[in-house]
Symmetry: C2
Subunit: 168 residues, 2 copies
Amino acid sequence: MKAQMNPIIAKPLTRAAFAPYGEVIEMDGAHHYPINGGMAERFHDLARVEAAGPGGRVLVSLFRGQPYALPLALRLVERHPFGSQAFFPLQDRPWLVIVARDGEDGPGVPEAFVAQGNQGVNYPRNQWHGVLTPFGAAQDFIVIDRGGEGANLEEFTYPSPFPIAVRD
Amino acid sequence: MKAQMNPIIAKPLTRAAFAPYGEVIEMDGAHHYPINGGMAERFHDLARVEAAGPGGRVLVSLFRGQPYALPLALRLVERHPFGSQAFFPLQDRPWLVIVARDGEDGPGVPEAFVAQGNQGVNYPRNQWHGVLTPFGAAQDFIVIDRGGEGANLEEFTYPSPFPIAVRD
C-alpha cells in the first residue's frame, strides 16, 4: 500500500514569512506618504522589478485565471532566469501562492501561502514558483514581468505530486 | 458679469479615443493567448513602460485616492519627463482620467474620460495629465512608474480652472 502524504497546508501570506521568496505587494507595513495635496497616499516601491537578458523590457499584462480544485496536486513549478514577475489580484478574494527553494537537484519541497485579495507578490529572477492559482472562482490579475529575447521559462516537474490544502 | 464656461464632459474611455494620449490597459480588444495548460489567459503587453534618466528604474506602488467632488474645477496638470506612469484600479468602479496635449505655451484645453473599473491607463513620458481622480468613493490603484534621480515632475497651473463633469 502506498504511503499517503500529508498535505502541505498553505500559511497566511506575510512579508516576514515570504521574505526568502520575494516581496509581498500590500499597503500594510509599507513606506507611504501623501501626494496630490493630501488627496492620495502613495505606498511606495513595493517590488524589485528585473528585466534583464537580450532585449529585456518590462511588460504590463492582465491574466484571467481559472480556479483550481483544492487540495491541489502540485507537480509543476517554473522560474524565469531573465526577469521578475509580479501578480496583483483585481478581485478582492484569496488566492494561492506556491514557491520552492532551489536545491542541488532542482527545486525542493514547495511552500504554500494564502494571499488575501489585497495582497500581491513579486517573484525575483530564478525563484521557483507554481503557476497562477486562484481557487473558488475565476480571478483576474495585473502582471508585471519581462519581455524580450531568449529562453525566460524553465519548468520542473516533481516525480510525484505534492498535495496542497488551504485551511477553511 | 463673468462668462460661465460650459463644463468639459468626460467621454467613455476607449483605446481609439485615448490613442493620442497613451494606452488603455484592458482585456477588451487586447492580444491574448492561453497559458498554464489553458488554465489562464494572458492579455499581453498592454503598456509601454519607460524608465529613463539618471538611475531610472521601474517601480510598483499602491495608491489610495480620496474622491473628488464633481464637477471638478481642474487647475493643475502634471507630466513626467523621465518615465511613463500606469494606473489600474483595484475596486471595480469608474474613475476619471484627464489629459491635455502639449502646446507652445504649455498644455492645451484638457480632455476628460470616464474609465470603467476594469480599465487602466498608461501615460507616456511628457504626457500632461491630471492627478489621480476617483469620484464617489475612495479607490485604490496599482501604479507602475519610474524611480531614480533627477526632476521627474513638471506641473502646470491653468490661469483659470476648467469645470469637468461626468454624465449621470
